[in-house]
């Protein structure tokens, strides 16, 4: 007995046996099981993915018996999924695998994730302060159009970025006025913002450019070139847009602001219990206005990436966001209203988009089906099957000052 007690007091060993640790370890191992079978590791036998997957599932079961049921079942699911994907990958030919899972997949994942990160972090600020922002899609679309317009007329991508941020903030200000001061239903208001953005961008696209593609030679968002990293790494992160790196900074900054500063505490207080925040002297309206406008600015910057980034090449298309604002919203929910979670979800969704693009070469229908993944995952997440997502308590509830 004394030996057991001594081991329990050992801090590292005790921490390793915490159900939280084992659960997360199981999920990571489950993901690793699938990665074993694809390049750059590319084990050509099914043995390794199966072994690692079984370990992941066992860790999950252990976690379930220790009380963290949802996390545990998540690890079990990750293990089984890892085995399945591993077997699938070892069955397909090595050259196809090499063509699919190369460094450009990483680069494309990051590229697809960039606008989602901006949108999701923006939406997170708004919702943390207690205002649901369904209008992210519209604010993104505004950024996409007015960003190109600014870059075209101003002659520089930086001016385009400023114009996009300004217009996104302005639209968000209109929404904030309706949602906060007029206390209109926030879902209705957000829907209206989405309509308005489609109409306004479409109208001015015709008015200013006569529905033609915006002329070539618009100053584009620059890429950051990093040399001397080696083949794989340079292919994946050596030539990314400046906004992709900015997104990384944004996630860290959002975490620090939201959880480590007094401003963040105020924002969260307004989202959890506005009356209490008001009582201690926080100006709830001011905080909410600030957060909603910030969400508009960030969403619009995400939007300009679509038109001015490497995928857009300086052209605007009618309704070009095509649901990306809603994926950003989904990423925020899937990430449980946290910056790191939202970024991870955006990466996952970006990965599914990048994979969908790659798979289209082999099978059109498989590529299309992969596009569903973000929405199904979010649906599962809000259903509470794997780790329940919890919105801020006063999210979506207008606040009336006394």
């Amino acid at each position: 007995m004394s030996a057991w007690a001594a081991r329990l007091e050992n801090p590292l060993s005790a921490r390793l046996r915490e159900p939280t640790t084992t659960g997360f370890l199981g999920i990571v191992l489950g993901a690793f099981a699938a990665f074993l079978a694809i390049p750059p590791i590319e084990a050509r036998t099914v043995t390794w993915p199966i072994l690692v997957g079984i370990v992941a599932a066992m860790l999950g079961i252990w976690t379930v018996t220790r009380g963290r049921r949802r996390l545990g079942w998540g690890a079990v699911a990750a293990g089984i999924l890892g085995i399945g994907l591993g077997i699938l990958a070892t069955r397909s030919s090595s050259s196809n695998l090499g063509a699919t899972f190369d460094s450009t997949l990483v680069a494309q994942t990051l590229s697809f994730a960039t606008p989602l990160v901006f949108g999701a972090v923006g939406g997170m600020f708004s919702e943390r302060s207690g205002v649901v922002n369904i209008g992210l899609e519209g604010m993104m679309l505004m950024g996409a159009f007015w960003g190109v317009y600014g870059a075209d007329k101003g002659g520089s991508w930086a001016i385009g970025l400023l114009v996009a941020a300004g217009v996104g903030g302005l639209l968000a200000l209109v929404y904030a006025f309706f949602a906060i001061h007029l206390r209109s239903d926030q879902i209705v208001g957000g829907t209206a913002i989405n309509f308005l953005a489609v109409g306004i961008t479409g109208y001015f696209f015709v008015q200013l450019y006569h529905n033609n593609p915006i002329p070539n030679g618009v100053s584009l968002l620059p890429n950051v070139h990093i040399a001397g990293l080696g083949n794989f790494l340079e292919g994946s992160v050596g030539d990314l847009s400046v906004l992709t790196w900015a997104a990384l900074v944004l996630v860290i900054a959002a975490y620090v602001v939201l959880f480590k500063t007094p401003i963040g505490l105020r924002i969260r207080a307004c989202g959890e219990h506005p009356r209490a925040a008001d009582t201690v002297g926080i100006n709830v309206y001011a905080v909410r206005y600030g957060c909603v406008v910030l969400s508009g600015v960030l969403a619009a910057i995400g939007g300009i990436y679509l038109s001015e980034g490497p995928q857009g090449n300086g052209t605007f298309l009618f309704n070009m966001t095509n649901g990306r604002g809603f994926i950003a919203l989904a990423a925020m929910i899937f990430g449980n209203w946290r910056p790191a979670g939202a970024a991870a979800a955006a990466l996952l969704f970006g990965f599914s988009s990048a994979l969908a693009l790659k798979l289209q070469v082999y099978s059109q229908s498989a590529g299309t089906l992969f596009q569903i993944l973000p929405y199904v995952l979010t649906l599962i997440a809000v259903a509470g099957v794997i780790g329940r997502t919890v919105a801020p308590a006063a999210d979506g509830k207008p606040y009336a000052k006394q």
Partner: protein, 414 residues
């Protein structure tokens, strides 16, 4: 609002617990005037946009005249059933667009009356559309009446089940229906793209690269009653959606089910205290709501569209369910109001598309975008009940007190 504490000052709207509660309040406050004010507001503001960008007030006025004429509503002035008459033809096309909008509007309205926001009309519409297409193609050669009925019933039920997912999730784990229905929208959209995409199960059989579905067989087509069969004539689906308006009214106002749905919508806690199962009603209301939207999809498939191509519908995918929201809000979530709202938006859609398609004063492609702006403004202002109430109340205050002084003190204060 769950904040305990003293009630808000009487100038503001009393804190209603749910959206449906707030709507009931608005209904008492403004009647039909508020929607009218909202629409006029939206038209005036979009008129200002046109006038400002075209540098001419006259142009703006001509634009609205052309939209009105294009919608065929000037048919009232000299009615005729002769389709060679432009206004009669335009009216038939406007009614064709109105048909699904009535139903998606009813779908949103029904969920609203239960205190829920069904933003998933798009997805449910698509489910109805695709099921109707599948059965309409596969069961070719059936008795036409049986075939049409089968397609409509199956599509409607499938959409009801699809919307029911959101209802079940809300009832069991409390997942917010707005989030779940948005996700279901996009799941439906990509599933549809897969179904009719290259190599998909519903894709056209004689051309494996064309991303379009097969045409429904002639036995599954809804007969046109006004216009040339097969050439965008007005089909009998209009009567089905008019019947749905009656069904909506009876269901909501004359049955136990409707009473329970409305009770839950006003105040779920009070309804539960009164012995009504809130969970059961969430699921039921969401399924019925989805059934209306799905019915719209089946009618569009069997009547006008007859096949599905990604991004190629009379009313594009991103629109049909969302316009339903505008329609329902404008119609105060009542049966008759939704019908009128659908007619307005149907007219606006076709009128701006057709009437400005040959416009003499502005670029025709501006027209549809103007419609989106007007829709957005209508939805924006109709949601801002306090603004409208404020204007309404200040108008009352400005009016000199009536001679009889019949106003009760409580009313005078509000």
């Amino acid at each position: 609002m769950t904040d305990p504490g003293p009630s808000p000052p009487p100038e503001a709207a009393p804190a209603a617990t749910t959206f449906a509660g707030k709507l009931a309040l608005k209904q008492r406050a403004g009647g039909i005037i508020v929607p009218l004010v909202t629409v006029i507001f939206a038209f005036v503001m979009s008129g200002i946009i046109v006038a400002a960008t075209q540098h001419s007030v006259h142009t703006a006025l001509v634009v609205f005249k052309e939209i009105f004429d294009g919608s065929g509503l000037n048919w009232i002035a000299h009615p005729t059933t002769n389709l060679f008459n432009t206004s009669a033809y335009n009216l038939s096309q406007t009614l064709l667009q109105t048909t699904p909008l009535i139903l998606t509007g009813l779908a949103v309205a029904f969920a609203f009356r239960c205190g829920m926001f069904n933003i998933g009309g798009n997805g449910q519409y698509l489910v109805g559309l695709l099921v109707a297409n599948w059965l309409g193609v596969d069961l070719a050669g059936l008795n036409p009446f049986v075939h049409v009925l089968l397609c409509i019933v199956a599509g409607t039920l499938a959409a009801a089940a699809y919307a029911g997912i959101a209802g079940v999730l809300k009832a069991t784990v409390g997942a917010h229906e707005v989030i779940t229905t948005i996700m279901l929208n996009w799941i439906a959209y990509w599933t549809a793209s897969w179904l009719v995409g290259a190599g998909g199960p519903l894709q056209i059989s004689n051309n494996p690269t064309d991303p379009v579905s097969n045409q429904v067989s002639p036995s599954a087509r809804l007969p046109d009653f006004w216009g040339v069969q097969g050439f965008q004539g007005l089909h009998v689906g209009l009567f089905i959606s008019l019947a749905a308006v009656v069904v909506f009214w009876v269901l909501l106002n004359r049955t136990t089910l409707g009473y329970e749905v409305r009770a839950v919508g006003f105040n779920p806690d009070a309804a539960a205290y009164g012995g009504i199962s809130v969970r059961k009603n969430y699921i039921r209301a969401m399924a019925i709501s989805g059934a209306f939207a799905g019915l719209a999809g089946t009618l569009d498939m069997l009547g006008g569209a007859q096949n599905y191509q990604i991004g190629q519908l009379d009313i594009p995918f991103i629109q049909v369910g969302f316009i339903g929201i505008a329609v329902a809000l404008l119609g105060r979530n009542t049966a008759l109001g939704t019908l009128l709202g659908a007619l307005l938006f149907g007219g606006l859609l076709y009128g701006s598309f057709h009437g400005l398609g040959s416009s003499s004063v502005i670029d025709p492609t501006l027209a549809t975008n103007l419609t989106y702006i007007i829709q957005g403004l209508v939805v924006l202002f109709i949601g801002a009940d306090i603004l409208i109430l404020y204007i309404w109340n200040s108008r009352k205050k400005l009016r000199p007190p009536t001679a009889g002084k019949t106003a009760k003190p409580a009313e005078a204060a509000s």
